[in-house]
Amino acid sequence: MTDITASEPKPRRRVNLHVLGPVLALVALIILGASLNSNFLSYGNVTNVLARSAFIGIIAVGMTFVITAGGIDLSVGSMAAFVAGVMILSLNALIPSMGIGVPLIATGMVIALATGIAAGFLNGFLISKIRIEAFIVTLGSMGIYRSLVTWLADGGTLSLNFDARSFYRPVYYDGLLGIAWPIIVFAVVAILGELAMRHTAFGRHCAALGANEQVAKYSAIKVERLRLMTYVILGLLVGVATIMYVPRLGSASASTGVLWELEAIAAVIIGGTVLKGGFGRVWGTVIGVLILSLIDNILNLASIVSPYLNGAIQGVIVILAVVLQRESKSAD
């Protein structure tokens, strides 16, 4: 691509700025955090921020594909709570027969992944085959999963057996070479997602579907199956996120995963993915997730602004990101 004559350098520089925007914002936040609190860049704080970002991050990578393909999924927060509930109930029920050990936890993980896939498949099936609007389907399933977990917990909290919990804890708190497991899993998911989006037919087809479903159909793309796949993958990733989340608290309740869907969607949009579909960036989503959790972290560490204003600042960032996107578009 180097042989192209730079006949119009002006718009190109702007596009670059558009690409760099989220990165610059992240760098600015890191500099701000480091200057406000000497602990900010400490190993403990960095690990804490990244590990807590991992749940939303893993889900947001899946959400990037759904949104790129022209869809939306509002149910992921409730879905995570439901998957966590099912996983905890299954683990508790299996302890008498299996005892506490690796097989038990592995079985629990498989159940969590299967539940996530099934939940994602249900969303995707209703959207792609029955042709109900994604917003409506996932608004409905959001209520269904949330209500199911409340019902399973009988209005209270589902707690994992104490011994099982102690055994399972390292999956969140331990790691490899000093890097916590959730961070490693998040990184692997993000890298695979980025490769899939940019270098495989799947990613290209998602963007084509989101840009114009008719063109995708006329280009011999299996439109229904592709759309279904995006929701199944998102469900699977909700399962992965839940596997990392359950050992952290060892419990699930009606308040688990509340508003995760909005945080995940916000991260995707901040990262530069177009809300109405047709263009997606997984690395942008990762940056979006980090920006959101850093704001939270900085407000908690530094006492200049109340941490209660966290949501307000995040809201401003989301709106700003979209405004910047639009300006760079009209500059093309």
């Binding site: 495989t200 290209r204 840009a211 008719q214 006329y218 299996k222």
Partner: protein
Amino acid sequence: MTAVLAAQGVKRRFGPIEVLHGVDFDLVPGQIHALIGENGAGKSTLMKILGGYLSPSEGQLLLDGSPVTFTDQRDAENAGILMIHQEFNLALQLSVEENIFLGREKKRGIFLDKVAMRAEAAELLARLDCHVDPRTRVADLSVPNRQMVEIARALGRNARVLIMDEPTAVLTGRETDVLLGQIDRLRANGTAILYTSHKLDEIRRIADRVTVLRDGTQILTREAKGFTEDAMATAMVGRELTDLFPDKTPATDEVVLTVENLTVPGKVRDASFTLKRGEVLGFAGLVGSGRTELMEGLVGLRAATGTVKVNGTPVKPGSVQAAREAGVVYLTEDRKDKGLLLGKDLTQNLTLLALDKFGSLRIDKQAEDAALTQAISDFDIRVNDRAMLAGSLSGGNQQKLLLAKTMLADPDIVIIDEPTRGIDIGTKQQIYGFIADLAASGKSVIVVSSELPEVIGTSHRVIVMGRGFVAGELTGEKITEENILRLAVGVADRIAETEPA
């Protein structure tokens, strides 16, 4: 008579690039001034300047002889200047009458006066000989009828100046006649009309004066009288256009495609035909005769029953993928909505259909880049910048890109629906050349077209459709406009007799 609207020495630049190099153009009441030129010649830019959508970079506009500046298109509309776009400006979910009165609704007090609006809408449509219920949703109308609604809307605004951007591109011959008759009446009523079309016979029929643009330069402006189609084409292209259609290489006798009793519910009934290797098979018929639906059913884009055999092997119905694997591809008539991703770059558009050829898991971007280089040279796609978006290409180059995309799938049987809709004459000639080359190289081509000269000029054999039936087949000397029309209309009459309304 003085001009109601005139452009004097108008230039227009987009960034550093000048696309219009000083054009003088005037519109006189009661006259039709035709503007012709190849795609990218600057016709659209000039029309947009006259219609208030763009402002000139240099030069000025005169309204009734005095200089005027339109701040936007609404400003021009208030001065009685209306533009009818190639891409319709209609709200699809609203009804016909709501569209006609959009932005200037009739009111009684604070409420809409629906009775008066409906009556006036019906009256406007009747003047156009268009029999559509004003309460119909525009989304449910056929494309020609949408065109009529668009014109009715302009009529309802008492236009003094009407700028028509290829109004007949989507119309059939009969519908074109109705429209030209209506334009005649508008002229008699003293409306000044700017008319563009790639169909030069229309220009000859209705224009009073003709201006030719080429590459943003005004080549000439003259009386239409005595300006032959050949002379127009030469002026537009800047070189002598020899025969528009290349010679036909004889087809073989080997049957590659057999279609038996193909039925698309509500659109096509029991269509059967065969296609031979090296053959160009034309499909003619009125708009709405089921040609497009038949082809879409054939390649699995629509639910259909019946048998499709490629080289004797049945193809799984209802699957575009299966058809592609059998070597059959369909090139849509609707390149903007179904053919290309206008917001994506050229490479992604080019390889979308045949992406599996570029690596099994990881896409080989170098190979993609090479494919683009190859396509640009094979199909003579004129690009400013390889990274440009497909939507920034001119119509003719978009069509070439779509052709390149389709051919990248390496099909044996290519179905091309309206191969040259909205394309200038120079590019048309190139596309006819591609079609002939495909057939000569042993591939088989089906050409679906509403332009009879195109069907006649490219095809070895022509199948005529009428109201969802195969009405007949013509070969050799029998392929004439008259025979095609007789078949198309004959069936229509027979059905009208057997199915009393």
